[in-house]
Structure formats: C-alpha cells, structure tokens
C-alpha cells in the first residue's frame, strides 16, 4: 500500500514535467498577451526576465517545483492572481460536475446492463444496446446544445442556460445559491451531457461482464441454494461484474476532465476545464502547470481509490 502511495509522486512529477516542456515547445509567448498595447521588444525582454522565462526550461521547471514544495503554486502571468486560489475557486464546480455526471452514467448504465444481460437477445436488450451505441456516438457539445434547446429555451427557462452559483455553505463570493436547487439546476444539463457518453460505454462493458458472471458456477450455486433472483443478481452477480467496470470508471475520470472542457465552455461554467483551456490558449504557463497538477493528482488518486475498491468488491484481492 505504501509503495502504491509512493508511486503517485513520480507519476505526478512526470506528468507535470511533460506538460511543462510541451507548453514551452508550442508556438506562443505569454508576454505578448501580458503587455498588449504596451508590447515592444524592450518591455518584452524585461517581462521575460521578471517572470524567469529567459532561463533554460529545466531551470524554470526546478524553480517551479521548488516553490511548489513550499506550497506556492505560482501566480498567473497574465493576471498576477495566485494559481492555487483560482484552482480552489474552480475545483468545486468541476468536482460537482464530474461526480454528478458519473452518477448519471451509473444510474443509466447499471439498470440497462442488468436488463440487457438478464434478457439477452430480447427487445429490452436490443433497446439498451442500441441506446448505448447512440450514447457513445453523440458528442458532448451536440447533446449539450440539444438539452439547451429543449430544457432551457424550449421550456421557457425551466433550467438556466448557463452559469453557476455556489452552494450556500461553501460560497465565498457574492453570487451564492439560495438553496440546493439554486445550485443543482445549473449543473443538471451539463452533467447529463457529460454523463450520457460514459453511461453508454459503461452499459456495454457491464452487460458483457454480467453475461459472463451470471453463467458462472457460483451464481448457479446461489440459485440452486434457493436464493431469490434479486439477491443473486445484485449481491452475487453485479458485485463481481462491477470489477472491470470500476477499473474503466477510474480511467474515465481523465475523459471526464477532457469532456468538462467542452461542456463547461458550452454552459459557461467557471470550472477547471475552462480554466485549463483558457490558460493553454493564453500560454499562461503557471496556470497550465496548476491545471496539469490538479488533474494529474485527481486522476492518480481516483485510480488509487479504484484499486482499493477491488478489495471491497472481491475479498480475494489483497494489497500487501
């Protein structure tokens, strides 16, 4: 377990280093955006010195790393705002979006997969499989626009088209939700837009696992013992069939963060996705590093949790 935890450090360092080098390898200079009308060679040279951009890439990386160890994530080159502060403001938005979209995905995938597996080659199975196929094929932005047109414009503003308000308890700004619904109504459409694609994938995967598991001997034994179908399916079959699905769910977090960029932009949500893409477009190196760090950390930690979940799902799995 300790070894597994220690593995996180080189993984995150590796990711941040690759991102650091890649960002500096693509064309573009943040100093241009920083200076705007005041851009001239003299000011540009001075600004590069001020931000340490004139130093070799490796030196820049170790300076960044040195500060990070002390808890300093750096400051945005363009706005001067502390990166950590911006990340912490935006993290709850993306976190809520990802958790809800995963909930949407599971809420669709689990029943659909069970029905598909138990009633294989029936109309219910075909419907579940077909819907899953469509779900995988529809891009998030397209589904997002459809939802926008139906639930926001079509239903006379039943759901707000865009924006975000924070939970009343966690709100540190003047834009706070009056209650739970005030917050939730902003995230419903984005969560569905992001979750449906994942639901489709998980349905297909879980259905295949279920088909395999329900034909296994221990399920037959459970049935032979006289257990009713409900505990057989939910307790014995589903629990074991979930193992590959949980693995994929962990890996899907990366896709969810990627999808969040599109969905957050479409629904004008101030999350980490828009933070990351804006930082990349503006070549705001410090912010990009912050984005890479938090997403890498989230990805690695979630996959660690996934590994730990195996022990719950299958007691035979043990970590030394």
């Amino acid at each position: 377990m300790l070894r597994r935890l220690l593995q996180i450090i080189p993984t995150i360092l590796g990711i941040t280093f690759v991102v650091f080098v890649m960002m500096r390898s693509i064309p573009g200079d943040p100093v241009v955006s920083l200076l705007g009308d005041a851009y001239n060679e003299e000011n540009a040279i001075k600004a590069r010195q001020d931000y340490g951009l004139d130093k070799p890439i490796l030196v820049q990386y170790f300076i960044w790393l040195g500060k990070l160890v002390q808890g300093d994530w750096g400051a945005s080159i363009l706005t001067g705002r502390p990166v950590l502060q911006d990340v912490l403001v935006r993290l709850p938005v993306t976190l809520e979006l990802i958790v809800l979209s995963m909930a949407v995905a599971l809420a669709i995938a689990i029943p659909a997969a069970i029905i598909g597996a138990l009633r294989q080659n029936t109309w219910a199975d075909y419907t579940a499989t077909s819907v899953a196929m469509i779900g995988v094929s529809v891009p998030e932005f397209f589904l997002g626009i459809l939802l926008l047109m139906v639930f926001s414009v079509g239903l006379g503003g039943f759901l707000p088209s865009s924006g975000w308000v924070y939970f009343p308890g966690t709100c540190q700004t003047v834009v706070c939700a009056a209650g739970l619904w005030g917050n939730t109504q902003h995230v419903l459409m984005p969560a569905v837009a992001l979750g449906v694609g994942r639901a489709a994938l998980l349905t297909r995967l879980l259905r295949a696992s279920m088909l395999e598991v329900i034909r296994s001997e221990y399920v037959t034994t459970a049935r032979a013992k006289g257990l009713s179908e409900r505990p057989v399916v939910l307790k014995h079959a589903l629990k074991n069939a979930l193992i590959p699905t949980v693995t994929v769910m962990g890996l899907q977090v990366g896709f969810l963060i990627g999808g969040a960029i599109v969905v957050e932009t479409l629904f004008a949500m101030p999350g980490l996705g828009t933070f990351g893409i804006d930082a990349i477009i503006a070549r705001d190196y410090q912010q990009v590093q912050g984005f890479a760090l938090i997403t890498a950390f989230a990805f690695v930690v979630i996959n660690l949790i996934v590994d730990l979940t195996y022990t719950f799902l299958d007691p035979r799995i043990r970590y030394a």
């Binding site: 064309p27 573009g28 200079d29 943040p30 241009v32 955006s33 200076l35 705007g36 009308d37 005041a38 851009y39 001239n40 060679e41 000011n43 540009a44 400051a75 363009l78 706005t79 001067g80 705002r81 911006d86 403001v89 935006r90 626009i145 926008l148 047109m149 926001s152 414009v153 006379g156 503003g157 707000p160 088209s161 865009s162 924006g163 975000w164 700004t173 003047v174 834009v175 932009t265 479409l266 629904f267 004008a268 101030p270 828009t274 933070f275 804006d278 477009i281 503006a282 070549r283």
Partner: protein, 542 residues
C-alpha cells in the same frame, strides 16, 4: 343629421382626452427607475483590471464605469464633462486648462482633484508603468496643479486630438486614486482586488472571480446627482454565441456587450423586441501584407530587406488593390452588413475619406501587374494567408480571398492559428505573408497605434505589422496630428489615406460591424460603439 354634426367635435374631444391621458403615461414610462441588477454578458474574459496597462475591450468597459476621467465624447463627436466642469485651450494649442467639479470623490473617499489628475497622467507617462497609452501622451510637456480644482496640461507641440485622446482612446484617461495606487501594487490592480482598483466612476468594483463573474455596485457618492440608477452590474462571460442567445432568449441576461455579427439575424428572429444596437463602422477588417523582412534574419532587426513577395509594390497592388473583390467579401462574410472599404481608416472614423475608387476590382489589371512583377504560368505565385480562430468571420474572409486570388492565378495557402500565435508572429516580426484580422476600433485616424508609432528610421514599432520603412508615413502622421486648422488637417489626412492606399502599406477590406444587444426593458443606454460604454444612465423598466 345632428349626430353627424356632432361627430367631428366628439372626435376632437376624444383625441384631446386620449392625448391628455397618454402623455403623462409616456412621461411616467420614461422616468428612470432606481434599483435592480443589470446582467451583462461578455464574449471574452477580462484580462486584468489595471486600467492603465491591462489590454482588451472587456477591461475597458469595466474601466469606463469604475473610473471617471476628465471628459467623455458623445456619439456625434461632442465633448462633455466627466470630472471636468469646463475646459479651455490656449490659442496656440499648447495649454489646456481644466476646471474640475468640486464634488468628485474616489471610491476610497479621497477627492478626485487636480493633484489626482496630475498623478494619473504622470502615472501613464512613466515608462515604468508600461502603459500602452504612453505614446499618445508624447506631446505632453507637463501637468501643473493651479489649485485643487484647476489643472493645466502643457504640451510640447500642438496636438489636435488631445481631447479625443483624453476622452476616447482606449479607456480615455481614467483617474486613479493616488492614495490607493501608491498603497497597492500593479499586481493587486491587475488581479482586481477591490481595495486596489479605486476610481471615481458611478460603480465601484465589488468582486471579480475570473472565469465566473464580475460585480460592480452603485457608488452612492457619485458626483452626478441621482445616478447611477442601477444597484448592481453583474458581468458574466459566455463565450459560445449559441449559449449567449439562449441566455438572452430566457431573459437571463439584459445586455450583451459585444455580439457575434454571424448570429445577429438569428437573434433578431428569436427576439423581435430585442434592441440590437450598431452604428458607424470604426474597426477595419484588414488583409495585411508584409512589406519588409529582417535583412539579417533576426526578428525586429532594424536592417530591413523587401519581403520576397510583397516587398514589390506591384504585387501589393495586384493582390491587395485590384485582386480583391471587396463587395463579394462583404456579401459573403457579413451578409452585406458592412461597408467595402479601401482606406486605412474605416468609414466611421473621424475625418476618414473614401478612397475606394483607387482600387476597383479589376482582374485584368491585377494579372498584368503580376506579369510585370515576373509572375505567370512559368513562375506561379504562391503565398501563405494566415488567419486565427478568434472570430469565425476571419476564416470565411480568408476562404473568399483564397478563391479570388485563384482567379488571378495566385495560390493562397490558408494557415489557421490561434490568437496568441497570430499575435506572436505579427508582433515579433515573425514569418508571414498576409493575414486577415479586424484589429482595433479607431476613433480618429491618429488613434491608429499600429502606425502612429510606426517605423521611424531606427526604431521599429512592434505594432506596425507590415513593417514598411517609409518615413514619409511618419511625417504625414506628425503633420496631421499637429495641424490645428481643421481644413488643412483634413487635407493632410486625405493625402495620408491616399498615400497608404497607393503604396498598399495598409490593406483594408471593409469596416467590421460591431453589435450590442439589450432587452426591451433595458432603458437609457447610449450606444457609442466600443469607445464609450457607460451604464450610469441605464435603468430597468420591469
């Protein structure tokens, strides 16, 4: 018979009664109501909130409401006092005296007096501030405080656009509280810390959560009695025009500060009562051609050599002048809602002159010039046409230009880059042949920072993208800006525009339309393009 006689009289009485009833109602409807929140949407994020250095219109529109200046300019070009009550210019044009209103306060409670004006101007002029506005203050010799409410600006030489500059170049002059400015750093202002961003405008900054929202509240001690009417302004960033339209249709936003021209007709169809505001075109849509390249291969080198393609004026004329059908471009890219234009200053810019007759679309002439320059079937001309992802209309224009150039035997390869790459390539003298962009809005010919600080012998300006080396242009600019006689100045301006079109140092395609949209209940806004965006007169009728 009796009733017939009575009818006209009865009608008269009914009309009079209706008029009596209607007039007070109308007057009541037009009386501004206090209170409410104006929900504004921006298409782009605010880059920073230091009004003297941060770039972008989004910042400027905040600056114009948090800050106050000396004067403002109306849509018809008249100057009106802001913090200044009155002003006068000496007969030789070298001395401007401003008398300030006595009740002007900064949001931190300190007075916006003559000392604050002197402080603010000197702050912009200080090279350490790195303000993009500094070149426009080159004419300023000194700023003197005569008494707490009188300030004099002494010039080194006459500057015909001094008042235009103070009123409407970028944000215009935004007065800063000396106390707050000295107490807090430029970083604090850029970050939008409310205690650091202290102006004397109608609204005070409450909060800026980057990527989410910006909030400004009414400043109760604003010097204009009764104003502003709104309690609060809430700005949100909605980058996708489809989402922006949905939010507008739902009534989630009251005011779109800059709306995509591509979607105007859709928005109008969806919202017949929306107030879609536009006006004179002050932004040039250009297809710039690079005139020189560094002789030694080092970007920004002062040693220049002609650009391999466009260093030859015949090629510039063949392609930029005769080879482009501006009518067709406008018809396709702007659905006809823009003015085809050749002159460097677009049609809405002060003292602009129509020089379209210098560049009629003429394929034969274009081909002949190319042959004269050595191009033809045995030596076909191929060039790179750069465009960026900021606005979809750039790509449409680039595609039409590619098609038009093919008609005269020229191959244009489109290179699509993002905005930052475009800025880097053009500002840093990188390799490019031709690009499509719409640059900045021009109040006057003089406000064209791209050329007014142009290549002067050994001092290459980063913003003079084509990098011509013709000092005659600088001479024109200097004479134009210093000429105080309006008639003579217009003549110089006309000469300058004709010269630029003849040499094709600057290749305008058309004006670039600008749109703002307001809900029918949003009242009192005075449209003045990008130059003056003031929400202190706005009120909500709902």
């Amino acid at each position: 018979m009796t009733s017939r006689r009575l009818l006209p009289g009865l009608l008269l009485v009914v009309t009079a009664l209706a008029w009596l009833v209607a007039v007070p109602l109308r007057a009541e409807a037009q009386t501004p109501k206090r209170g409410g929140t104006l929900r504004v949407s921006y298409g782009n994020e605010v880059a920073g909130l230091d009004f003297h250095t941060s770039p972008g219109y989004e910042m400027m529109w905040v600056g114009m409401n948090v800050g106050c200046g000396l004067i403002n300019i109306t849509p018809d070009g008249k100057f009106v006092g802001d913090a200044a009550e009155s002003w006068q210019m000496s007969p030789d044009g070298l001395l401007y005296t401003f008398k300030l209103k006595k009740n002007v306060l900064f949001h931190d409670g300190t007075p916006a007096d003559a000392a604050a004006v002197k402080f603010s101007i000197e702050h912009i002029m200080d090279p350490a501030t790195k303000s993009g506005m500094r070149p426009f203050y080159d004419a300023v010799h000194s700023v003197e405080v005569l008494d707490s409410s009188t300030v004099q600006i002494r010039l080194k030489h006459p500057y015909a656009f001094m008042l235009h500059m103070l009123a409407g170049y970028r944000t215009g002059l935004v007065l800063y509280s000396p106390t707050a400015t000295q107490k807090y750093s430029v970083e604090d202002r850029k970050q939008g810390k409310p205690e650091a961003v202290v102006g004397c405008g109608p609204f005070k900054l409450v909060e800026w959560v980057k990527g989410s929202h910006l909030v400004m509240d009414r400043f109760d001690k604003y010097f204009e009695p009764g104003r502003p009417y709104l309690d609060r302004i809430m700005i949100r960033v909605i980058k996708d025009p489809v989402t922006e339209m949905a939010a507008f249709k739902n009534g989630e936003i009251d005011f779109i500060a800059s709306f995509s021209p591509d979607h105007v007709s859709t928005l109008k169809a969806q919202n017949p009562n929306a107030n879609v505001m536009t006006g004179k075109e002050t932004t040039p849509m250009v297809a710039q051609m690079k005139v020189t390249v560094p002789k030694d291969g080092k970007p920004m080198s002062t040693e220049r050599a002609p650009h391999p393609i466009f260093g030859d004026v015949r090629v510039r004329r063949a392609i930029g002048c005769y080879g482009l059908d501006r009518q067709e471009i406008v018809k396709i890219a702007f659905k006809g809602q823009a003015t085809p234009w050749v002159g460097m200053a677009p049609p809405g810019t002060l003292e602009s002159v129509n020089v379209n007759s210098m560049c009629p679309y003429d394929q034969t002439k274009a081909k002949a010039l190319l042959v004269e320059a050595g191009y033809g079937p045995s030596k076909p001309l191929t060039l790179e046409l750069m465009t960026n992802t900021e606005k979809s209309v750039f790509n449409v224009i680039a595609t039409v230009i590619k098609e038009q150039l093919a008609r005269i035997g020229v191959t244009a390869n489109i290179r699509l880059v993002d905005k930052v790459t475009w800025m880097n390539t053009t500002l840093q003298d990188g390799p490019w042949d031709m690009y499509v962009e719409d640059l900045l809005s021009l109040l006057t010919i003089d406000s064209n920072g791209y050329l007014s600080t142009a290549y002067v012998a050994k001092n290459s300006s980063a913003w003079s993208h084509p990098r011509h080396t013709d000092t005659k242009v600088d001479d024109y600019y200097a004479r134009y800006a210093r000429e105080m006689d309006a008639g003579k100045r217009k003549a110089i301006g006309k000469e300058l525009l004709e010269y630029m079109a003849d040499k094709m140092y600057w290749n305008t395609i058309s004006g670039s339309p600008f749109y703002m949209v307001a809900q029918p209940w949003t009242k009192g806004y005075v449209y003045n393009a990008e130059f003056e965006v003031h929400w202190d007169t706005v009120w909500l009728d709902k």
